[in-house]
């Protein structure tokens, strides 16, 4: 009952292709939960389905005790959920400042200003690049912008889809420590999708493993890390 986000038996389709095959998942308030899985397992689909795009065909998604399964995307995103989507999807021709303001859409300007200061405290680089066009930022800066933009709506639940994609290890560490700090300081709840399973499981309180559109394993991060089948499938050659 206490879960902030709960998915039960959620399925999702792209036309005739079934991408999610009855997913059960829970995220409790103040938790960092990570979702790992191979390419094409359906991780991004799961994140998008939570936001109602594509919509879940069966099953139920509840957020903060409310059924959001059938709500339109914009209504869902106004209840305190924010997503930093796969591939960042920042607005390339708009400035960093404008990109951030887009994240605070529907919030009063004074509040947006204050939130922006917090984002700058987290990612000082964004302040330096404030008037630069989003499309000309480096990959890491774009990722910071995507996360910063998501934070601008002051979410309770942050969905992060592969924030480490294509980034140097140092930048990944910076972003992961930013997530941890946010979680610790503000109690922000995070659902994190990652290819970098080792770091993600170390960061997260709990983890889920998604295989072919269904959850096959779940448990505390450290516990999953210790399992031999996880090590074999997702940590090969790594740590």
């Amino acid at each position: 009952m206490s879960a902030l986000l709960r998915l039960s038996g959620v399925t999702a389709y792209y036309g005739a292709i079934q991408a999610l095959k009855g997913v059960d998942l829970e995220v409790n308030p103040g938790e960092i939960v990570t979702l790992i899985g191979a390419n094409g397992a359906g991780k991004s689909t799961l994140m998008m389905t939570i936001c109602g795009n594509p919509r879940a065909r069966d099953g139920q998604i509840t957020y903060d005790g409310q059924d959001i399964t059938a709500q339109p995307t914009h209504a869902i995103m106004r209840q305190g959920i924010a997503q930093s989507p796969e591939g960042r999807r920042i607005f390339p021709r708009m400035s960093v400042h404008e990109n951030l303001l887009m994240g605070a859409h529907g919030h009063p300007p004074s509040e947006a200003e204050a939130t922006m200061q917090e984002v700058f405290a987290l990612f000082p680089r964004l302040l330096e690049r404030l008037s630069q066009r989003g499309g000309t930022l480096s990959g890491g800066e774009q990722q910071m912008l995507a996360i910063g933009r998501a934070l601008m709506s002051r979410p309770r639940l942050l969905l992060l889809d592969e924030p480490s994609l294509g980034l140097a290890p140092l930048v990944v560490r910076h972003i992961f420590s930013a997530i941890r700090e946010l979680n610790r300081r503000t109690g922000l709840t995070v659902l994190l999708v990652e290819q970098n399973a080792y770091q993600a499981l170390r960061l997260a309180h709990r983890g889920y493993v998604l295989v072919n559109g269904a959850i096959t394993m779940a448990g505390p991060g450290a516990e999953l890390l210790a399992r031999p089948e996880i090590r074999a499938a997702y940590l090969e050659g790594g740590h």
Partner: protein
Amino acid sequence: MKPLRDAGLSALVALGLFGVMIGLKTDAGPHSLVLRARPWAVAAAVAAVFFGRLAMLYWRQWRPAGTPSPRHVAATLSRIGRYAAPLLLAFAITLPLYAGRYWLDLGVLVLTYVMLGWGLNIVVGLAGLLDLGYVAFYAVGAYSYALLAQTFDLGFWTCLPLAGLLAALWGVMLGFPVLRLRGDYLAIVTLAFGEIIRIVLLNWVSLTGGPNGLSGIPRPTLFGLKFNGGGGPGSFADFFGLEPSISQRVVYLYFVILGLALLTNWVSLRLRRLPLGRAWEALREDEVACRSLGINVTVTKLTAFAIGAAFGGFAGAFFATRQAFISPESFTFIESAVVLAIVVLGGLGSQLGTALAALVMIGGAEVFRDLQEYRMLIFGLALVVVMVVRPRGLVSGRTPSVALGGRRHIGADMMSEGHG
């Protein structure tokens, strides 16, 4: 020998085109038309293309060291831009002081297109929705004013907001079904919509007069003062004790359209700085991202359509009152095409660019009227040249809508974006 081959290819294309277009000429013979071949004219044209292309390619290869680079040109242009806008405005305001009737009429025409361009710019330039049927709203505005004024005996200033409102309503009605569509599909549907409106106007004879159109549309008044050539009580000339003259009306019309155009500009600029305008621009860039930021994409697109349509409607009402006569002939697809060309040539989203493009295209077409058939040739050539030299339009690049400290212009040369 790449340049040679390239030039040869161009010449071949030219041969294919000119072989028919220039090579064959029809003359009136004694009994019927006779076909005359003009091989030398074709040869000259093809040779011109060959050497022209060759010269262009070599010029590109051995550009003299002193030639300004595109980056430099862009910077200069943006610097000129800062002065061009106020200068242009001053010129527009003072024009009636020294211009004659012909130039004022031309000014009214150009300003009408400037206004249409700025209106369409909201839809195409800001929101990124390709609308090929903008003339529909122009027509709705014109007919709304004409019918309201004639049926209910209302004045121009009363009908103007109503005409805009009705056009906006049609914008919303068009918007609803087409919002799911993107790019090409949207373009086709809006194109069809423009034609539907025109055909309805043409065939609904009892309401619109069909092909005969509507005439005797009332002229605008200034606080109830009429502008008529004859003067008489209640006229502008009578009230101020002036010699009655038609040119007073022309000057008045000129200032009316100037005011309307400036209103369009002001509203566009304001909107760009509001969250709504920013959402339009974001929508143009990435719809999925917008949705996941909690933006109601449907409503946002609808407002763009409606506001753009409203300005089309205002312009239409003005057109009706200026002409005193309207018929479906004035609202053909070519009008939509011209307005869209103005917006694209001006550099999508640029207010100054749109004004300049309207000035060049409408003013230019009018000035070159004496050249008759060469007019279209010059027009086409100008389009090609602009697209080659400045592929993103006359004034490309956008100024961020928010800035801390000085506003920085983002030049066209930095526009080749990568997403990663």
